[in-house]
Amino acid sequence: MKRFDLERIGLGLAAPVLALIVAALLSSIALVISGNSPLHTFNAMLNYGTQPETVVQTINKATIYYLSGLAVAVGFRMNLFNIGVDGQYQIAAFFAAVVGGWLLLPGPLLIIVVVLVAVVVGALWAGIAAVLKVTRGVSEVISTIMLNVIGGGIVAYLLDPHRLGTIVGTQQVTTKPMPADAYLPGIPVKGGEIYGFVIVAIACGIAYWVLLGRTRFGFDLRATGLSETAAVASGVSVRKMVIRTMLISGGIAGLVGMPLLLGSSHAYAQDFPTGYGFSGIAIALLGRNNPIGIALGALLWSFLEQSAQILDLEGVPKEIVTIMQGVTVLSVVIAYELVRRFSLAQQQRRVGAELRASAATAGTGEGSPA
């Protein structure tokens, strides 16, 4: 069994290493084609990316990506494709910011309320797609994409000086800023401050791991993802699972905007960033829906993005990083599939060997083909 575990770890490492080598090679080809030196580019990125300031930026962005990746991954584990994390976190952050600006509460309490509002709004927004799926059979892929647009529209409509918005300073429309005592303090390190919300993100990762690996609910969820028919026969109510999983996914999605809202912007302005939900999909794929994998994926994603800031100064178009990110996701998906097949064949070989051994002793062989 020991040997088996070691081999499993070996196989687990093989895939990402293989993937990163392939991704680096393909990115180099892209760089060469565009007339740049791969070595020079990688070197510049590495140098800039390891500056303390960049590291802080990388970790902060990775915190956001990590939450987004977790939100997507929960759904993936039961074959539920929540493409709507993007809309869910925007609408959640918006309403959380509105509550944070209007509610008069002591700072720490207000922070908790704001976070809860974000979770509830995110979950409800995702819940619409879940209800449509279980009552009307609407694919969650379609409905969540549409809800992204609707959510964006609602936020844009409400973020108006005559409604829930105000004008601060220049012409920027924003929600009423949160009071200063509700600023979530950061963790000061060399090079800047890390979002305090990183603690919550880590806690979410641990909760995700416990929920999926150690609880009955998690077992039902994974069983549904592996084989819906088997899960149903085992007594899982797929409808309930769809609703619950979507609510959890949307709830986590609601947290995506929080590091920014509580840590730096303290209000939801028109320039509140979008698109983190889609990065989350790529990061969940990169991390193979594993909480540690997603963390590494989020860090890599964020590192590529941050370190690319230097490329314009080096005369390399920084859009090259988008190619790198895409190539990395592809390589990872393919590498893991290869390793998965290899390890399955390995297992079958071992079962076969076992059968032969027992056949030799018991005299009753069995030769069923694979």
């Binding site: 069983a223 026969a233 085992s234 007594g235 079958q348 030769g367 083909p369």
Partner: protein, 596 residues
């Protein structure tokens, strides 16, 4: 029936020598030697998992042999893809049809081999060719019908035509009768004779011995991946073939001393399940199973058995009541019903019984997610589940190197032993066993039977669904016959023969074919998936077209036929007016009028 004097009797169409194919861990084929004479039907028989399919995949170029040679029409060939095999004149008719429903027959046939050129489709020429082929082989195909309008038999002819259209002279038919009703089987055999007389060579893969004996000119038996004998049908009986297939003594499922106790475990009243369009697929079924009793349900597949089991476990909405002991389960969901003490061996173990990619110990939890030793409260008890998986592996002899391998790595028989062990865990009071030994090897079959017998002796009530009549007769205390969703009669397994049961199942009173030559006085046997091993009278052939063409009220229709008492003793089929065979009534519609 016997080897017809084919035009080119001496020439060998396909010669396989020393074919060996290894898969990770298992040798699927080893030293296969087969010579197929041109213009004959050559049957390859063997149990599920004996290596027939692998062999055919090698011959069709889907897999490359590790060793050995293939000659087609005397020329050595080396296929690296089905395209090579097609070029050499070999065509394959798959068990599962590869046809597009929304296209016409014509379009389906030309798909992938479109006539004409420069982007233009020459349908006129194609239609001419199709009609030529259809006429010369008597396939009776209408090129302009939409595929979705066609029945299964017609679709199969389209598949055959498709292969012939591509110039095949050697046809591989992989389990062609598995999807056909008896009448269509007869039609298919007629088509095969026609093809043969036109010089086409046919390789017929099957494990249904009566069919093989009826259609083949020569039979090659495959066992554990190798060829064990090639025989002429005239020289063997079904029983001898079955023995060649399983290699020795056929195991027996028989249990005779009754362990039935008075207390009622399962009580189903007026259960009705409707198909989506409203037609009842289980129609007002009532049944009772006592502790220590095995109730077997006999029926041609598709007569409501699967739906009955689904309704009892709560997978399908139904009307009527289901009581387990003194508890009413009617309004409970599947999980609550399982918790109440129902074990469930589903019909399709890979789709419903297992998480193929998950390790064995997680599969131990499946279906028992809310029960010890798998969980404590909301938490999974990994140690408990793992320890109990070790116990199942040990007690049920699941052949595996450990409990961390994925379920998909196990062979079918070992997967099933794991499922049986799991469903027997936690002291169920009722076991729903749908085809518990289908597709498993003989050794595993005997072990599963043993497990069922032991549990029955300990007071377990079992609802047994099986297509293997010998298994049903051997294991059951009572047999109920289901036909078009209704329970149409009760049989006493101590006296009923597979032939009688077979004709009762089809509602075709008295139309069963005569029993096989070695039928009389022979002890009952089951040969695993060989199902009707005891002569042409049982199983598929006994159906005699009954399902497709319901006869009018059979001669023995008995107005008093009513739900008989389980465990009731009596000769043969209770509910028949006479004790003779095949007189059981018949058309449920007729019976329906006679009901109160």
């Amino acid at each position: 029936m016997t080897s017809a004097p084919a035009p080119a009797r001496a020439t060998i169409a396909v010669q396989l020598r020393g074919i060996t194919k290894r898969f990770p861990g298992v040798v699927a084929n080893r030293d296969i030697d087969i010579a197929v004479r041109a213009g004959t039907v050559h049957a390859i028989v063997g149990e599920n998992g004996a290596g027939k399919s692998t062999l055919m995949k090698i011959l069709y170029g889907m897999q490359k042999p590790d060793e050995g040679s293939i000659e087609v029409d005397g020329r050595p060939v080396n296929f690296s893809s089905p395209a090579d095999a097609i070029a050499a004149g070999i065509g394959m008719v798959h068990q599962h049809f590869m046809l597009a429903d929304n296209l016409t027959v014509l379009e389906n046939v030309v798909l992938g081999a479109e006539p004409g050129g420069f982007g233009r489709l020459d349908f006129r020429a194609a239609r001419r060719r199709i009609m030529e082929i259809s006429d010369s082989y008597g396939l009776d195909v209408q090129p302009d019908r939409l595929l979705e309008e066609l029945g299964v038999g017609d679709r199969q002819r389209v598949e055959i035509l498709k292969v012939l259209y591509r110039g095949a002279r050697i046809l591989i038919l992989d389990e062609p009768t598995a999807v056909l009703v008896p009448q269509e089987v007869d039609e298919l055999f007629g088509n095969l004779q026609e093809l043969k007389s036109e010089g086409i060579t046919i390789l017929f893969i099957s494990h249904k011995l009566d069919e093989v004996l009826a259609v083949a000119d020569e039979i090659t038996v495959v066992r554990r991946g190798t060829t064990v004998a090639t025989v002429l049908p005239a020289d063997v009986t079904a029983r001898r073939l079955a023995e060649l297939m399983v290699g020795g003594e056929l195991p027996s499922p028989e249990t005779r001393e009754s362990t039935v106790r008075p207390e009622v475990v399962l009580d189903v009243r007026g259960l009705t399940v409707r198909a989506e369009e409203g037609r009842p697929v289980v129609d007002d079924v009532s049944l009772t199973i006592h502790a220590g009793e095995v109730l077997g349900v006999a029926g041609v597949e598709g007569n409501g058995q699967a739906e009955l089991v689904d309704a009892i476990i709560g997978l399908r909405p139904a009307t009527g009541t289901v009581r387990l002991g003194d508890r009413d389960l009617t309004d409970l969901n599947t999980r609550r019903r399982r918790e109440a003490g129902i074990g469930f061996i589903p019909e399709d173990r890979q789709r419903q019984g297992l998480l193929l990619e998950a390790p064995l110990w997680e599969n131990r939890i499946l279906g028992h997610q809310s029960q010890r030793p798998n969980v404590t409260g909301p938490w999974i008890d990994r140690a408990g589940a793992r320890a109990d998986t070790e116990r199942i592996v040990r007690e049920y002899d699941v052949r595996t190197p450990g409990i961390d391998v994925a379920a998909s790595a196990l062979s079918g028989g070992n997967q099933q032993k794991l499922i049986v062990g799991r469903e027997m865990s936690g002291d169920p009071v009722l076991l729903l066993a749908a085809h518990p030994t289908r597709g498993v090897d003989v050794g595993a079959q005997a072990q599963i039977w043993d497990a069922l017998r032991t549990a029955r002796a300990a007071g377990l009530a079992v609802l047994l669904i099986s297509a293997d009549l010998d298994e049903l007769i051997g294991l059951s205390d009572t047999i109920e016959v289901i036909l078009r969703g209704r329970m149409v009669g009760t049989a006493d397994p101590r006296t009923v023969t597979p032939e009688e049961l077979g004709s009762a199942m089809t509602g075709a009173g008295g139309t069963a074919e005569p029993a096989g030559p070695d039928r009389a006085g022979a002890p009952r046997h089951a040969a695993g998936t060989v199902a009707p091993a005891d002569g042409a009278g049982s199983g598929r052939h006994a159906a005699g077209g009954g399902d497709a063409v319901p006869p009018d009220s059979g001669p023995g229709a008995d107005p008093d036929l009513d739900t008989p008492l389980p465990g009731r003793q009596g000769p043969g089929l209770t509910g028949t007016g006479t004790t003779g065979t095949g007189d059981l009534a018949n058309d449920p519609d007729v019976r329906g009028e006679e009901r109160p």
